[in-house]
C-alpha cells in the first residue's frame, strides 16, 4: 500500500516553474532564426550578461515574497550600490576589494533596515519598501548626481568576461545560488522563512521565530540585490543613480512568472531565475528582429499577462468555487 517516496529537499517543481523554461527556449529559438550568432560564444556571453542582473534581483525579490511580503526597493538599492561602488572603488585592488565587501555589507544593512521596519515597526512591506526606495534613491543621488565613476578593468573582466563558452556572469549567478540560496534553503531558518510566509500565526505557535525569519529574508535579499548592483557596475563600468529603476517591477514580474505565490510560502528559485533570463532575452530578440525599443515594455507586459492567463486557465478548470478563489 505504502510507496517509498524520495524525500523532497525542495518543494515540488510545478507547472508554473516549467513555463519560463519553455518560454525561454522559444524566445531563444525566435532570436536564433534572425540572428544565428546567438549560439556562438560571443552570443551566449552577451545573453548571460544581459540577464544575470535581473536573475539576481529576482532571487532577492523571491526571498521577500516567500515571507508574504514584497520589496519595492530592489531597483533603488541597485542604483545605490552601483553609485557607491563606482565612486569609491578606485583602480587598485587595495581600494577595490574593501569597497566590494563594503558594498555587499551595504546591501545586507539596507535589507535589514527594510526588515526591521517591517518586523518591529509592524508596517506593511509594500509601504516600507516604497518609502525606503525613495531614501535609497535619494542617497544614490547624493553620492553621484550624474552617472559616472570608474571601476578597475580587472573587476569588469572578472564579472563580464568569458572563458570560451562559459561567461563569468553565469559563474557569478551559480556562485550566488550555491553560496547564498542553497545554504539558506537547506537550513532551519530557510524552512522558517517558508513557514512564516505560509502561515505566520502557525509559525509562532509552532515555536518558530517569525521576526528572525523575516529579518533574515530581507537582509539576504539586500545581499543578493547588492551582488546584482556590483554586477551592473562591472557591466557599465560606472555608477548611475537611475540604472536600477527598471529592476523593481521586472523582478516582481520575474517572481510571478516563475510561479512564486505572491501570498507567500511557496515557490522554487529556478522559476524566477529562468524568468529573469526570459524577460531579458525578449528585449534582445526584439532588437534583433528590428523592432523598435519603444515596443519593448508593451511586448514584455503582454508576455507577462499571457503567461498569467495561462496560469489562470489552470484555475479556470477547478471544480469548485473554493479552489477558484484559492
Amino acid at each position: 500500500m505504502k510507496t517509498q517516496v524520495r524525500p523532497r529537499h525542495f518543494p515540488a517543481i510545478s507547472f508554473a516553474t516549467f513555463l519560463p523554461a519553455i518560454g525561454f527556449v522559444l524566445v531563444l529559438l525566435i532570436y536564433w532564426i534572425q540572428q544565428p550568432l546567438i549560439l556562438s560564444d560571443f552570443g551566449i556571453v552577451s545573453l548571460c550578461n544581459q540577464s544575470v542582473a535581473l536573475a539576481l534581483a529576482a532571487m532577492a525579490q523571491t526571498l521577500v515574497v516567500l515571507t508574504g511580503g514584497i520589496d519595492l526597493s530592489v531597483g533603488s538599492l541597485i542604483s545605490l550600490t552601483t553609485c557607491f561602488a563606482a565612486t569609491y572603488m578606485g583602480t587598485s585592488p587595495e581600494t577595490a576589494v574593501p569597497v566590494i565587501v563594503a558594498t555587499l555589507l551595504l546591501g545586507v544593512l539596507t535589507g535589514a533596515v527594510n526588515g526591521i521596519l517591517v518586523v518591529f515597526g509592524r508596517l506593511e512591506p509594500l509601504i516600507v519598501t516604497l518609502g525606503t526606495s525613495f531614501v535609497f534613491g535619494g542617497i544614490a543621488l547624493q553620492i553621484r548626481p550624474q552617472p559616472g565613476g570608474s571601476v578597475p578593468g580587472w573587476f569588469a573582466t572578472m564579472l563580464t568576461g568569458n572563458l570560451s563558452f562559459l561567461p563569468y556572469s553565469l559563474v557569478l549567478l551559480i556562485v550566488a545560488v550555491c553560496l547564498v540560496w542553497v545554504p539558506l534553503r537547506k537550513s532551519r531558518i530557510g524552512r522558517a522563512i517558508q513557514a512564516v510566509g505560509d502561515n505566520e500565526h502557525s509559525a509562532f505557535i509552532s515555536g518558530l521565530n517569525p521576526k528572525k525569519a523575516k529579518l533574515c529574508a530581507y537582509a539576504t535579499g539586500g545581499l543578493l540585490t547588492a551582488i546584482a548592483g556590483l554586477f551592473i557596475t562591472a557591466q557599465t563600468t560606472s555608477g548611475d543613480p537611475n540604472v536600477g529603476d527598471v529592476y523593481t517591477l521586472n523582478s516582481i514580474a520575474a517572481v510571478v512568472l516563475g510561479g512564486v505565490s505572491l501570498r507567500g510560502g511557496r515557490g522554487h528559485i529556478a522559476g524566477p531565475i529562468l524568468s529573469g533570463f526570459l524577460l531579458s532575452t525578449i528585449v534582445s530578440a526584439l532588437l534583433a528582429w528590428g523592432i523598435s525599443a519603444l515596443w519593448q515594455s508593451l511586448i514584455q507586459g503582454l508576455v507577462l499577462l499571457l503567461v498569467l492567463a495561462g496560469i489562470g486557465l489552470q484555475i479556470q478548470r477547478s471544480e469548485s468555487w473554493r479552489q477558484f478563489f484559492g
Partner: protein
Amino acid sequence: MSQSFSTSLSDPTTTATNSRNLDSLLVAENLSKSFGATQALKKADLRCRAGEVHALLGANGAGKSTLVRLLSGVIRPDTGTILLRGQNVRFSSPKQAAVAGLATVFQELSLFPHLTVAQNILIGQEPTSRIGWIKEDKVLTRAEEILSLLGESAIDPSAMVESLSLGQRQVVEIAKALSHQPDILLLDEATSALGPEESARLFALVRSLRDSGKGIIFISHRMEEIEAIADRITILKDGETVGHLTRDQFDRSHIFRLMLGTELSRSIDTNKAEQKPSQPSARPIIQVENLELKRRLHDVSFEVWPGEILGLAGLEGQGQVALLHLLFGMYRRGYSGQVTINGQTGLPRTPWEATKLGLGLIPEDRKTQGAILPLSVETNFSLASLSGLTNWLGLIRRNREQSLVRQLTSSLAVKTTNPGEPIAKLSGGNQQKVVIGKWLARNPSIFLFCDPTRGVDIAAKASIYDIVRRLAADRKGIIYYSTEHEELVSLCDRVLVFRDGRISGSLSGGELNHHNLLALSFGSQPKIKELSRHLPGHSPALRDEGGSEAEADEGKAE
C-alpha cells in the same frame, strides 16, 4: 534514533521521579487575564498530576481557551503562578513551553499547508548536519516513527499537508506535539475532526502516555469522551475554577449544574418525546435523484420536506460536506442528476444563485468561511441581506441595519457588549450564532448546516439546537450534517448515513439511535426489522402521508 524516541515516551526513570511528587507536575494557581475591559480569567486553578488524564470543562466564555493559551505560552498571565515540576515558570513563547516539556495540540491547528507532513511535524527541530543543513531523510524517518506511535499508517509523511483531509491534519497536529516528547500534553479539542477510528487510536495513545507517567490535559465538548478517558475534571465557569471532580464523582447532571447552573442543563438532555411530529406537506422542498459528483457522491437520492430536519451522518469525509456544497452551488462542474429546489429544477451554479433559490449555508469552518473575523458583529449579521437594507442610491441604511442587528442579537442571545466590535472578539459559540443569524436576516427557506457545533461549548450548542428546532417549526427545510451522533439522534427527524459517497442507510423514529448510526457508518447491518423500507427512495412515513397529495398537486399544476 527510533529507539531513543520510543523509550523516552515510556522511560521508567521519569515515571519514578514523577510518582514521587505526584501533585507537582503542573500546578496553575490564581491565574487571571484581562483583554481590555473583559476579564477572561479571574481565579483559575488547575493541577495536573503525573500519570493522569485531566479534563478541563467549561461553558461558553468560561475561559478554557484563555487558560490553554496561558499554559502553552501564547499569552502571559496578568497574575498567578504556573509551577512545572515544582518550578515556577513563565513562558514567553510556545517554544519555551515545548522545550520545558509542555506541548499543545491547538484546536485551530498550526500547520503549514505547503510543507510536507514530515516537515510540519518536525518544524523548528529538524535534525541538522554539522553545517546546519536539514537532513531531510532523518526528518522523514522521525516523522514516520511518530506517526506510527499514533498507529497511523494511511498518512504519507512526504505528502503536502494541503492534500490532507481535516481529520488527517488533526492527526499531523497531534504528531507535531508528540515530537517534542512532552511530559504534559495539552489536547485542545484534538478529537473534533477525528473519525471514531482515529479517536480510538488517539485514546489508546493517551492511555499509554498516562501509564508511562505523563500528564494529559484534555479538552473536549464530547461528554462521552471525557467520561471514557478522564481521571479527573476541572470545571471552569466565568473565568474561575468552580469544581474538581474525581472519576467516581462523574455525573452528567452534576457536571452540567456546575458548568452552567441549573437552567440550561435540561435542554442538553434532549428528549425525543418533546419533538413535534413531522407534518405532512404538499411537496418536498428539496428533491434529489441520482445525484453524482465526480469522486465524491454516487447515486444519491433523497428529499427534504418543509419542517423536517434531515440529518447527514457517517464517518468524516464520506461526501456529506460535498453534498451540502454542491447544493449551495459551490461546484462548477463534474456533477449530474435531477434536483428540484423550491420547485425549480437544476442545481444552483454559484452561491449567489443558491441564495436566490432560498438556500442558506452555515459552513464547517467558522473562522475562514462563516464569519469575517476582522469585521464587526453588525457587519457580519447584515452581510447576506444587504440588498434589503439599501436605499435608492445603493447606500446602506444604518438605522435599518442597526435595528436588524438589535433584533437578531436578542433573539439569538448573542453575548456581546458592543455590536460594533470585531466578531473575532466573541467566543466560538457566539460567533456561530452570528453566522446563523446572517442567514436568518435573509429568511431563506432551506438551511444547510455543516457541522455547526464543532468546537462550540455546551451552552452554545443548546442554543443552536434551539434555533434549528425553531426553524423547523417555522416550516423551513433543514439539512444538518454533524460529526456527533448524539446530536443527530436528538435533533433530527431522519438521518441519512453516508459511506464512500453513497447513502448506506436512512434512519428515523426508534431506529435512529447511536448504535445504528455507528453500524451504518461502518457498513454493517443496523438493528432494523425491515431494512429495505428505509433505503433511499423508499423513504419513511413522511412520504406515505404526503406523497399521494404531492402527486395530486403536481397533476393539478400540469
